[in-house]
Each structure stands twice: as C-alpha cells, then as structure tokens.
Amino acid sequence: MSHAAGLPSFVAFVIALLVVLGAVLTLIGALGLLRLRSFYDRVHAPTLGTTLGTGLVLIASLTLFSALQSRPVLHEILIGVFMTITTPVTFMLLVRAALHRDRSAGRDPAAEGASRSQGRPPEPRPE
C-alpha cells in the first residue's frame, strides 16, 4: 500500500497487533458457532466477534487513519456505536424465536443445553 508508506513502524506494529487480535477473536467466535452444541450455547459465540473483535479492528482503523492524516479521525466510533446498538437486536430476535419454537414443541429450553449436548442441534424444521 503506497499511501501507508509514511507510517512509523511502531504505529504499524500496534495497528497490526490490534487487527490480528480482532481477527483472532472473530475466528474464535466463528469456531465456537461451529463447535458448540445447543442453539443457546452457539448464540453466544459470534458475539465475541461483534463486540471485542470489531472493537479492536475499529481501534486499529482509527489509529491508522489518525496517524496517516495527522489529525484525530473518529468516524469509527460511530460504527462502533451502531454495531453495539444494533447487534443485540439480531440476537434477541433469534433467541426469542428459538424459545418460542422449543416451548411450542413442549421442550424445556432450560434443559435443552444439557440434554442436547450429546447429539446434534435440533434441525430447523420446515414450516
């Protein structure tokens, strides 16, 4: 990247560290989504990426552009704020739907995690 050439190496190091950390956190979240057993367990894993992972990458971006333009660039804060506000909506709706499904099927959502931990997560049933 040519326009990043003037970046001091220690700043570049910090940014790289932040980006890698954020990416690793997101990857862990994705692996969790893959590995965890019950729906209620799995729903937690991706939050790792949407909160801390995103936050670290955003801080990295903020640092990079502030350093490049020699002035505080704060757009990323807005992205963070909106991510923080809107991501829970998805999770709430997903969990509510799952609860609803389990209850209407006569299963106990609280026992779900324990009893299902041996087998595969319940198949999403077609309407």
Partner: protein, 954 residues
C-alpha cells in the same frame, strides 16, 4: 402571422379546445357550446384565410424534422383539395356544434361530448393536412378512436357500445391495413412525403408491389367509407347522438376513405386492378345501399343506408379511372356533405320533438313543423337529384361518366348505365318515402311527445345547409365553381380535365337518365307503398345475412377462440417449463455466434489470485450452490444462502475498488432479501412426500436434464466472461468518462456523473422502468389470491398470544424505531455527497427504503401506517416529474434536454453554494426509488392486513 404558425394553429386549436372542454362542470351546456363553437369558427376562419394562397395553386408546407434519417417528420401540407376538406370539416363542425347545443339534454355530461367532438375534428384536420403518409395514418387511427368514443357516448346503452365497438374494430383494422399499405407505398416511392409520393405515380403503378400496396390502402379506405362489404358498421353506428351522426356520416369520418382515394388518385388509379376493386365496391354499395335504404323504418337507418349508397356513388366515380369522373366525385362529396348533414339534423329534430324516429309511427308532421318540413323536403330532393338543387348537378355528371366509361370489361361498361339508373331510382324512392310518410298524411297518433317546431337556433344549421344546396343548385359556376376548380386541380394535378358546371346541358342522355330515375323512383315507391305500410322487417330479395351476427362470430373466433386454442396448444401455466425454455433459448442464442466465429481466450489471464478473495469466492459459490439446492426444500435457508452469495459479490466490488457498486449491491441485497422474506409467507406449502427409490429413479431423467441445462447455461456464461476478461480492455468511452467527469460533469464521483449527467437520459428511462415495475408489482399483488393453505395466519402466529408477540419485539422494536432518524440522515448524507463521493440518489433511496421497512417490521403495518404517511405512488410520480422537469429545464436556457446546469445560490449561514441541476435530478431518482420500493413493501404488507377471499375451486 406566418403561414407556418397558422397551419399549426389550425391543427392545434381543436385539440387545445378538447383539452379545455374537459375542465368544465358537467352541466355547463352553454359554456361548452360557446367554447366548441368558437374553436370551430376560429378554425374555419383560419382555414378560410388560406384561400388566396391555395387559389394561386400554391402548396403550403410547414415542416418539423423529427427523424429525418427514417424519413419521418411532422409535415403540414395544404393545397386546394386539403383546403376544401378543411373548410368542410370546420364549417359543418361549427354548424353541428350549434345544433348539438340544443340537441343534447341537460342531463348529458356535455364536457365529454364536446371534448371528444373537438378532438375528432382535430384528428380529421390532421388527416386532411398531413404531408406525410405515416402522419396521415396516425391521425386516421385517431379519427377511429374518437369516433368510437363519440358513437359510444351514451355508454349506458348496449346498442351504442356495440355499435361503437364494431365501428372501432372495422375502421381501425382497416387503418392497420392502411398503415401497411402506406409503408409499402412509401418504400416504393422512396419517401413518405406526400409530394414525393404524388410525383412517383408511374413508378408505383409499375412496381411489382403495386397490387399488395393498392389492396392494403383500399382496405383502409373502404372500411372507413363503409363500402361494401365493410358497410355493416355504419347502420349500427346510428346509436350515436344525432349530432355525431350528422357530422361523422356527412362531412367527416366516412368521407376520409373518399378523401384518401382521391388524394392518392394520381398515384394509384389508372389500372385495371383499381377499376375492379374500387369500381365494383362502389357500385355494389351504391345499388345495394339505395335498395336497402327503402326498407328502413328508422329515419336514421334510412339515412345510414343512403350514406352508404352515396359514398358508393363517389367511390364508383373515383373507380372509373377518368379524371372527369374524379372531378364529379369531389363535387358530389361536397354536395353530399351539405344535404346529408341537414337531413341528419332534421331527423334529429323530429326525434327530439316527437320522441320517435320510426317512420311507421310518424305522419303528417308538416302541419306541426312546417319550416323543418320544408327544409327537410328540399334536402331530400337534393339527395334524390331533383333539378335546381346541388344533388342534381353532381348526379348529372355522374350519369354522363357512367355512359362514357371505358373499363376493362365490355359487358360491364354496357351494363353500368342501366345499373346506376336503377340505383338512382331507388334513391328517389327512399327520399320520397322519407318525405311522404313523415310529413304528409293524417296527423300522427300516440306520439311520445306533442310535435312542434324546434328552437330557432337549432334550426339555423339546417337552414344554412339547405340554403347552400339551393344556391349551389341554381348558380353552380358562380358559387362552388372556383372551389371545385382549385380542389380538383390540387387533387388531380396536371390531369385535370375541362368540365362545365352548368344547370342546363341541353337534351342529352344523362338528362333522360335523370328523368327516368325520377319517374322510376316514384313508380317504385307507389309499388312498395302498401308493403312498406305493413311494416316488413327485412329487406326482400337480399339474403338474410345478419352482418352483426357474422361480425360477432368472427370477432369471437379471432379474439377469443383461436388465441385460447393456440395458448392451450403451445402455452403453459407452469413456471418450470417456462424457465427451462428461457434457459435453453439463452444457451442456444449464445451458441449461434460461437459456432460461427469460434471461441478464443485472451492472453491476459493473471496467474496470481489473492487467497483471501479466493476464499471469499469459494464461500460465495458454496452459498449459491447451497441456495439452489435448498430452494426446493427450505426456502428460508435458500434465501439466507442467496444473501450470502450477494454479500460475497459486494465484498468483491470493494476489493476491486468499486465502492459505489458495493454500496448499491449491499442495499439491494438487504431490500430484496427482506421483501422476499415478506413474500415467503404467501407461497403455498410444499406437498409433503416420502423419498423412495422408485420416485427418485422416475425423476432422474428430468433432474439430469435440468442439471445439464443449468451447467450449460452457468458454465457457458462463466466461459464467456472468462474469454472477455482475459483480453485487454478495448479503447472505449469509459476513458473519456473518467477524464471528463470533473471538467465536464463537475463531479469527482465518475459513477454518479455518468448516471446523472453523461447518461442522464438512460437513467431517466431506467427510473421510469423502475416506477412501472413498482406499479405492476402493486397491481399484481392487489388482486393476489394466496394458496388455500396459506390463507390462515401461520401456525407460529396462531400459537402466540398477542401479549407475548408484543413482548418479543419490545426491545428490538425500540431500537429499530430509534434507528429511523439515523438511517434517514444517512440517506440524506449519501444523497448530498453522491456527486463527489460514493452515494447518489439510487443508493440514498434504497437506504431510505430500508428505514421504512424497519418501521414496518418493528411495529407492524397498522402501527407504521398510523404514524408514517407514505404515499408511494405520489413519490414515484413526483420523482419522475422532478427528473423530467430538470431535464426540460435545460430548454429554458436553450440547451438540449437533460443538459447539466449549475446555479450558484447564496444561502444564509451556509454561504455561497453551487447547486448543479444534476443534484435536483438525483433528488428525483431518490424519490422514485423510495416510492417504488415502498410501494412493493406496502403491497406485501397489506396482504397480511386485508381479508382474503378464498381461491375458487378449479
């Protein structure tokens, strides 16, 4: 004023009046009549002041170029012949307006009547003044359309509707034939320009396509003029209000066929084919029309058949291939217009003042309405060809021509004088019957109304026309001579013969024929009197063919039975075969050029692929295949997977530095996913089935075939794309766009500059399509009948109580509502910066639509609509208007349509601001995108609110 302006004014006046007439209140009979009368009179005066010019045998032309490469332009052309017709159309039009003021009842919605009437007059003038064949056909079809509207004016009356439809079908089908004929003639002559066509007569007659062209043109002319065998629509058109009949069937509509034949006479006439088609059609109409007219009991029916007969006379004259006969035809056209218009009006007066038009019920009206009776008698005498009236003169000329004819068949030549004398005797008979049975005899009994004279000014048009009949009949050379002369010279050109317009030509054969016809007519009438009094319902000696039943049957076959049979044979209602054929056709269409030119790959394949992008693409491809795989079994999953593929596309755009595309892709992906999600609920459920080996084996050939088609189409497209992308980019216009975006377009965002400036017209077309698509989706969903099983609320909703449902979306709902202003601001931001940075009206509109969708999702349809007043249709309209008006605004400063302008505005607080017109254009795009998306959303959302009617059992 220049001639150009006046010519345009002559054509534009009636149309402007028609538009204006619509805005009057329904009961403004007087105001409407004043307006229409003033327009007609003004048009007449404008036409009249051209007299000195056309009298010098000048041809006035006024040209506006449109597509000169295709020989298309808007040309107004006036010569003596066109002038004569223009005067007839406007003059009789004025008298009819005056008459209609008294004829129309106060209960009739007159704005519609006068508006159609004026528009019809304008269309007539358009045909008459056309200087270009295509333009002539265009106005020709307009006359068909407006005559349909006029005949069907009393649309609560089934006869009026049927008559109007029949007239429209017959005349506009003829018009289509004429269109084809005009194209052929124009192709032979090398130009559609009337002057050049008229000069190319020899070329056209010698051409091998002459016969098809002639037949097609004549089909148009003969249907319009209600000539045998297309005459049947005219009697049915009598369901129209009488002023309409008086206008359409005397001076206007039916005269167009005659006008066209006379107009193209120098080009098409002079061959045996012409004499056979035109002459025979005219002769049959003349004889049969006159014969059938005797047996009509409806006054207007009698006049209708008499009109067919007289037009047959004119057509026959034109078909005789003799210039003198053509002069007589033009002369009789004028005469017929005067006496027939006055007779129709008189019939209307009788209908209006007595309440019936049945000749059998009418009797002795002369003592109640002596003036009208006298006028009608004079007009009828003119129609019968009684000496000292105008009809006599043209009929005399006609007889002379019938004697002198030299056609291709000797026996026809010899029979013609006898045939026409007989037909003339018939016309004397029906004229006599009209007079004798309506005005003489004992006083009528049991009439719906007590008969009396009509109002003074209702009679005036009849008086004026009858006066013309008498004056022309007495002093032909002094009155009508110069007019006929200039019309004949203009129509026939150098072939115009010498002729004499005199009352007395000495004792000769034509005079003897006239006398014979008069005497014979009286004889025929006396013979048939008792039989007619008994009230025979049908015409004796003619085969009892009900033209209307035949017409209805043919129409039913052509418009319903055959198409249905065809659809049943080759059509399908199933989506799968349709899509299969689409895909197969696409593959075949692509294979064609490949087979001919071969396929070669370029050299520019880049070996290094970024692994990150490669992984993204693998994910995208997996999503796409998964979507196709799941589409049948789990629609929701398929939709989510399709969204994944879309996101990868979006990432690819970002990767290759196309932020505008990426932004648009992202938003389109969101909006379409949500809209399809909403629609999923209405899809029918899959029929549950158990997987078996036998079933799978039975389906295997079909599935393999579909797989082969899918692989061929997808793989073929990928191959083609690869072949294109491995070549170096050719020198295209894109380089110009990139370099000129800022200097010429004033924006640094090349994509947006292209959209709103360089290719602004394309964008205008695209948003028009988008608006149309929105409306179509809305219209389709309005009449949507969901499958029976998805009528009820889905099981999830049924199990869920309202309280927990509200509970479930409580927190998300609050956040979604909070997001509304934020997304709105984002949309505004994208709109404002669009010209210089990624964004623009389209993206901003989609963003705004997402904000709206969120509100519907958060609170439900009722909640959202109680709080947000979205008017999608108005937004679409406003968007289109803004965009088009911005484009038209460039005209104000004499720049072409959609040229980009910039205005510097001084705003308080903000300071100087450059406001480019393209920004306003973009606002239009924004409004339209919001409107179209919201319209689809609303249509889907309302499905769950409205109550559905159960689908009918098949």
């Amino acid at each position: 004023m220049s001639d150009d302006t006046l010519l345009i004014a002559l054509l534009a006046l009636p149309f402007a009046g028609a538009a204006g007439a619509l805005f009057f209140p329904a009961n403004a009979r007087n105001a409407e009549a004043w307006l229409a009368g003033a327009i007609a009179l003004a048009a007449l005066l404008v036409a009249a002041q051209f007299y000195p010019d056309v009298a010098r045998a000048e041809v006035l032309r006024s040209e506006f170029r449109w597509l000169p490469e295709l020989g298309l332009g808007f040309t107004l052309r006036m010569d003596g012949f066109a002038w004569l017709f223009a005067v007839l159309v406007t003059g009789i039009g004025f008298l009819v307006v005056l008459y209609a003021r008294y004829y129309m009842s106060p209960q009739d919605p007159v704005p519609r009547f006068f508006s159609f009437f004026l528009a019809f007059m304008g269309a007539m003038l358009g045909v008459v003044l056309a200087g270009n064949l295509i333009q002539l056909v265009f106005f020709w079809e307009l006359t068909s359309l407006f005559s349909f509207l006029l005949i069907g004016y009393w649309h609560h009356n089934a006869a009026a509707r049927d008559g109007a439809r029949m007239a429209l079908v017959v005349t506009s089908a003829g018009g289509l034939c004429l269109f084809a004929g005009a194209l052929l003639v124009g192709r032979i002559a090398g130009s559609y320009d009337l002057d050049r066509v008229l000069a190319a007569g020899d070329l056209i007659r010698a051409h091998e396509l002459y016969l098809p062209a002639l037949v097609l043109v004549l089909l148009g002319a003969l249907t319009k003029s209600a000539q045998f065998p297309f005459h049947f629509w005219l009697p049915h058109a009598m369901a129209a209000p009488t002023p309409v009949s008086a206008y359409l069937h005397s001076a206007a509509m039916v005269k167009l066929g005659v006008f066209l034949m006379a107009r193209l006479w120098p080009v098409l006439a002079g061959t045996d084919a012409w004499i056979w088609i035109v002459g025979v059609a005219g002769l049959c109409s003349f004889v049969l029309g006159a014969y059938a007219a005797i047996f009509q009991h409806d006054l207007k029916g009698l006049l209708a058949y008499s009109t067919i007969s007289h037009l047959g006379l004119i057509t026959l004259l034109l078909g005789l291939n003799s210039p003198l006969a053509a002069v007589a035809a033009i002369f009789h056209t004028m005469n017929h217009a005067t006496f027939k218009a006055s007779l129709f009006m008189a019939a209307g007066v009788i209908d209006h003042e007595t309440g019936t038009r049945d000749i059998r019920r009418l009797s002795g009206l002369a003592r109640f309405m002596p003036i009208t009776a006298t006028l009608a008698m004079v007009a009828a005498a003119a129609m019968a060809g009684v000496p000292l009236l105008n009809g006599f003169l043209s009929k005399e000329m006609f007889f002379a021509q019938a004697l002198a004819v030299e056609g291709p068949s000797q026996s026809m030549d010899r029979a013609l004088p006898y045939l026409v004398t007989v037909a003339a005797a018939f016309s004397v008979a029906y004229s006599l019957r009209f007079i004798r049975e309506v005005f003489f005899g004992p006083a009528p009994v049991d009439l719906p109304r007590a008969p009396h004279e009509p109002p003074r000014w209702m009679r005036f048009p009849i008086e004026a026309l009858v006066l013309a009949c008498v004056v022309v009949g007495l002093f032909p050379a002094a009155t009508v001579g110069p007019l006929l002369d200039l019309a004949a010279r203009a129509a026939l050109g150098p072939a115009t013969p010498e002729y004499s317009l005199a009352l007395w030509h000495g004792f000769n054969l034509p005079l003897a024929m006239s006398v014979l016809a008069l005497a014979g007519g009286v004889g025929v009438y006396r013979l048939l009197k008792t039989q007619l009094a008994r009230g025979v319902e049908r015409t004796p000696f003619l085969p009892p063919i009900d033209a209307r039943a035949v017409f209805d049957r043919v129409l039913a076959a052509v418009s319903r039975r055959w198409p249905r049979a065809l659809e049943a044979a080759v059509g399908t209602n199933r989506l799968q075969p349709q899509l299969r054929w689409l895909a197969v056709l696409a593959v075949v269409a692509a294979l064609g050029p490949l087979y001919r030119h071969g396929l070669a790959f370029g050299e520019g394949a880049s070996p290094d692929v970024d692994p990150a992008l490669a992984i993204a693409w693998v994910v995208g491809a997996a999503c796409a295949i998964g979507a196709a795989w799941q589409a049948k079994f789990h629609r929701l999953v398929a939709l989510v997977l399709a969204g994944g593929a879309g996101l990868v596309t979006c990432v690819t755009f970002v990767w290759f530095s196309a932020p505008d595309l990426a932004l648009t892709q992202l938003l389109v992906e969101i909006v379409t996913t949500v809209l399809i999600l909403l629609g999923l609920r209405w899809l029918p459920q899959r029929i549950p089935f158990a997987w078996t080996w036998a079933g799978a084996r039975a389906a295997a050939p079909r599935r393999l075939r579909d797989l082969a088609i899918a692989v061929a189409a997808g793989g073929g497209l990928a191959t083609l794309a690869y072949a294109v992308m491995t070549r170096p980019l050719p020198e295209t216009v894109s380089r110009y766009f990139v370099t000129q975006a800022y200097p010429a377009g004033g924006g640094t965002n090349v994509v947006n500059v292209i959209l709103v400036d360089f290719r602004g017209f394309d964008t205008l077309g695209e948003i028009t399509v988008l608006g149309a698509v929105g409306l179509v989706v809305y219209a389709l969903l309005r009449r949507f009948r969901p499958a029976r099983e998805s009528l009820d609320a889905p099981p999830q909703q049924r199990k869920q109580s309202a309280a927990t449902a509200a509970d479930d979306v409580l927190v998300p709902g609050v956040i979604m509502r909070l997001m509304f202003p934020v997304i709105g601001v984002l949309a505004l931001y994208l709109l404002l910066r669009g010209h210089n940075l990624p964004g623009g009206g389209f993206v901003a509109g989609l963003t705004m639509a997402v904000a709206l969708i969120l509100q519907y999702m958060a609170g439900g349809t009722r909640w959202a609509e109680a709080r947000l007043d979205i008017q999608p249709v108005r937004l679409i309209g406003a968007g289109l208007l803004i965009a088009a008006a911005t484009g038209a605004g460039a005209w104000v400063v004499a720049r072409p349509f959609l040229a980009a302008l910039a205005v510097d505005v001084e705003l308080p607080l903000v300071g100087k601001l450059q406001l480019p017109s393209v920004f306003v254009f973009d606002v239009g795009v924004f409004a339209l995108v919001v409107g179209a998306t919201a319209l689809v959303l609303v249509a889907l959302a309302h499905q769950s609110v409205r109550s559905h009617r159960a689908p009918q059992q098949p």
